[in-house]
Amino acid sequence: MRLDIRYRSSFTYDGLVRESQNELRACPCTDEFQQLISYRVTTSPTAKVVSSTDYWGTRVDAFGTRAPHSSLEVLAEATVDTRDRPLPMGMSRPELLVEPAFVDRHAEYLERTPHADWGPEIVRLAAEQTAAAGGDVVGWVLALHRLVGATLRYERGVTSVGVPVDEVLAHGHGVCQDFAHLAVALCRSRGVPARYVSGYLFTRDETTLPPADAAEDPDDAVRVQTHAWFEAAIPGHGWFALDPTNQTAVGQRHVKIGHGRDYADVQPLRGVFSGGAGASVTPDVEIRRLPVVETAAVPPPGRLLLEQDRRDQQRQQQQQ
């Protein structure tokens, strides 16, 4: 599916701002199931944008301005091709989770982080679910994913990022970030490496997906927020992506920006300003489905590690 995405964020300040410095993480990544076709960032007032790839493999666009301004707008325009992500086939034995090489490779996706910490209630729930799911890690992850859907009710605006997962669980409702963080915490509490994914979802409503039949999709642009889901590492299979908010596997309508230990590693926009008294931010995402003219240049499967890609690029540069 070829999608055209316009991510726009506007800061409106109370008063004149002397300086503003920001980092944007809004660029769809290229991986086994997704290919970025084009990407462009513009700002108003105009600022020089410097791009780099961060530790997690996410593109970062840094920009700032010292021209006095009372509002700042950043626009990121992307075109991306997506494909379905296949479900893991076959079993994965839980004993493999504790193999030293597997643990070492996924160490940072097993730790507690500020947004994905867990208390006794999460430990208890996760243990209960996985025990019922039997001796298969894929089954564990699906059970935990369903648990999130059964436990949390989607309610816009009831939480802000920063509410601990345990509290979200106690309240029983949240937004997509909370669903993703709870899923991550549940997985990690059972020793299943899990990571938080930031991205976009092509739909009219974050919680409603159109029927699977793609021919009936609306062709006009839809407005959504950035979305969040999670990926769990299945021994012998790789990363398994699930969208707990919509209780679905991650498919062609999901556009991945990047992943990290939690929200803080892939926060779409962060920055500081000085001079004004306060600010309000309005993010706004518009996604439009495009007809695919030529065959999408999606790379062949079998290259899963972004780390490897990064190393290759570095090798090239070091030889210059």
């Binding site: 410095q21 700032g64 070492d104 160490a107 500081v272 000085s274």
Partner: protein
């Protein structure tokens, strides 16, 4: 001349420790004989008078540090003992080559992690989880190259001498090692207070530190900076415990001392505000922590940093020294792997050994340590300044229980080491000499070459029997002499007190003895 001072040494008992001056009761090591002969000419009263002058001079120059634990922080002078520590040319040769080797390997490791292929991880030299679980590992530093790979441009390596007199590495300080100002100021003070003791002693100079540091910083400037890059010292401000040193370093390099609010980033280029407008800055020698450097990338509440600094560094427009993320290499658990790093990166045997260290996530080692807590030293992996250390043999039962609970709560956060019976050095206590435990922190500068400043900071545990030498724990210091290998006449620099040029003037109310 009064002869009272002869008793100064006669009553001294080296006990069973490795004593730097005495090889046995009354037996003075050869490299101390000249110094002791000259000191014998002073009476206890002479020395006491000089101690008073020393205290007045240090106080009036503000050569102080802040002790934080005593309620709200107290400014203290860093007491310098009047009896210098002497290191022979032969001993120094071993130390120097060992330090060059170690710091070279540490720089290679950091470059490998942050801009390299992580070869040491792939080849199994160090576990990846240990790297990622280190508080000092900075994902934000990923992909930012440092010219010449000089990530630890300034390193302070803490050495101790064990019961056999062998120098071992106790810990590495690769973020903002402090204390070099005391090294230089102690020498200035000694040449003024006791100029005669330097007679005929080929003591290698230390007063070139500012020039050496500025040279190293200039060599890691971005290529676009040209021949005379602009260097600044970035300080957290006057409330920092080492503020004196920040002032000192800027003065000795002849560069601006700035705070974050004096700097600004425009189009990914760093500038400092001056009375004549903005001036481009090429190299920042920062003495603030990584997490405060840039509120865009790190803690958004930091008021010490500069918004946009990291993007400027990433763009290659400014070099930050020491590099961001060095803390992963001076993590006390990663420390245990430094000997293997030396072998891996350099293909050499480590010249300076580590102290035996137990890693508490290994079940057998944990079990051993918990059974032997009362005879081991337990340290938190990421703290500096001697905070949080439990010394088993000196701890109460309650302290050991608390320590045990801490370890079990997070084994990765602690290491255990054998107690090193640190060497002792006679130290002037009131009117006589007593043995006090000492260590040595040499300073190592890396740019296109690796330079070790002769000597370093000898820290003294001033409390009788104490093994904790950290200045933040009430330690003192000694002027540290490295003797030149050459005969006196050909020795480099300020071996003669009269020729020494103090860089900070002693204020008028202090007598200068000649």
């Amino acid at each position: 001349m009064p002869t009272v001072a002869a008793g100064l040494f006669d009553d001294y008992d080296p006990e069973t420790f490795f004593d730097e001056v005495f090889s046995g009761p009354g037996e003075v090591r050869e490299h101390y004989t000249g110094l002791l002969d000259r000191l014998r000419r002073f009476s206890a009263e002479d020395l006491a008078r000089r101690e008073r002058r020393r205290d007045a001079a240090f106080r009036s120059q503000g050569i102080t540090f802040t002790v934080y634990e005593e309620d709200e922080g107290i400014e203290r002078t860093f007491p310098m003992d009047l009896l210098p520590r002497v290191i022979t040319a032969a001993e120094w040769e071993v130390i120097e080559s060992g330090l060059v080797q170690r710091v070279t390997a540490l720089n290679r490791f950091l470059d490998d992690l942050y801009v390299g292929e992580r070869a040491a991880v792939h080849d199994g030299v160090i576990p990846w989880w240990l790297v990622t679980s280190s508080d000092g590992f900075s994902r934000e530093a990923f992909g930012i190259p440092v010219p010449l790979g000089a990530r630890c441009l300034v390193a302070g390596i803490d050495l101790v001498r064990d019961a056999e007199g062998r120098f071992c590495v106790l810990e590495d300080n690769l973020r903002s090692p402090s204390g070099i100002s005391y090294v230089v100021e102690n020498r200035v003070a000694m040449t003024r207070l006791l100029p005669n003791v330097f007679t005929d002693a080929p003591v290698r100079p230390v007063d070139h530190y500012g020039r050496s540091l500025l040279g190293a910083l200039s060599r890691v400037a971005p290529p676009a900076a040209g021949d005379t890059p602009t260097v600044v010292v970035l300080t957290p401000g006057v409330f920092n415990s080492a503020y004196f040193e920040h002032v000192f370093l800027a003065a000795h390099m002849g560069v601006e001392l700035v705070e974050g609010r004096d700097l600004v980033v425009d189009d990914h280029v760093l500038y400092m505000r001056t009375t004549r407008g903005l001036k481009r800055v090429d190299v920042v020698y920062r003495r603030i922590d990584d997490s405060f450097l840039d509120p865009v990338t790190f803690r958004p509440d930091s008021t010490l940093g500069v918004p946009g600094l990291m993007a400027a560094a990433r763009s290659g427009n400014v070099t930050i020294c020491n590099a961001v993320g060095n803390g992963v290499a001076d993590d006390k658990a990663v420390y245990a792997y430094v000997p293997q790093m030396i072998e891996y990166y350099l293909g050499e045997r480590p010249i300076l050994p580590n102290v035996d260290t137990y890693l508490l996530w290994e079940p057998e080692q944990l079990e051993f340590v918990l059974a032997n807590l009362d005879r081991l030293v337990i340290k938190p992996v990421a703290e500096a300044g001697g905070y949080g250390i439990t010394i088993g043999p000196k701890a109460t039962e309650a302290e050991l229980e608390a320590c045990r609970a801490d370890i079990l709560a997070d084994p990765r956060n602690w290491i255990a080491q054998e107690v090193v019976s640190l060497s002792r050095h006679p130290t002037l206590i009131d009117d006589h000499l007593e043995g006090r435990h000492i260590d040595l922190r040499p300073f190592v500068l890396t740019s296109d070459t690796v330079e070790v400043i002769p000597g370093g900071l000898t820290r003294v545990a001033m409390r009788k029997g104490s093994l904790v030498v950290n200045s933040s724990q009430g330690g003192g210091s000694k002027d540290t002499w490295v003797l030149a290998a050459r005969p006196t006449g050909e020795a480099e620099g300020d071996t003669d007190a009269a020729a020494a040029t103090p860089l900070l003037e002693v204020t008028g109310d202090v007598e200068v003895t000649s």
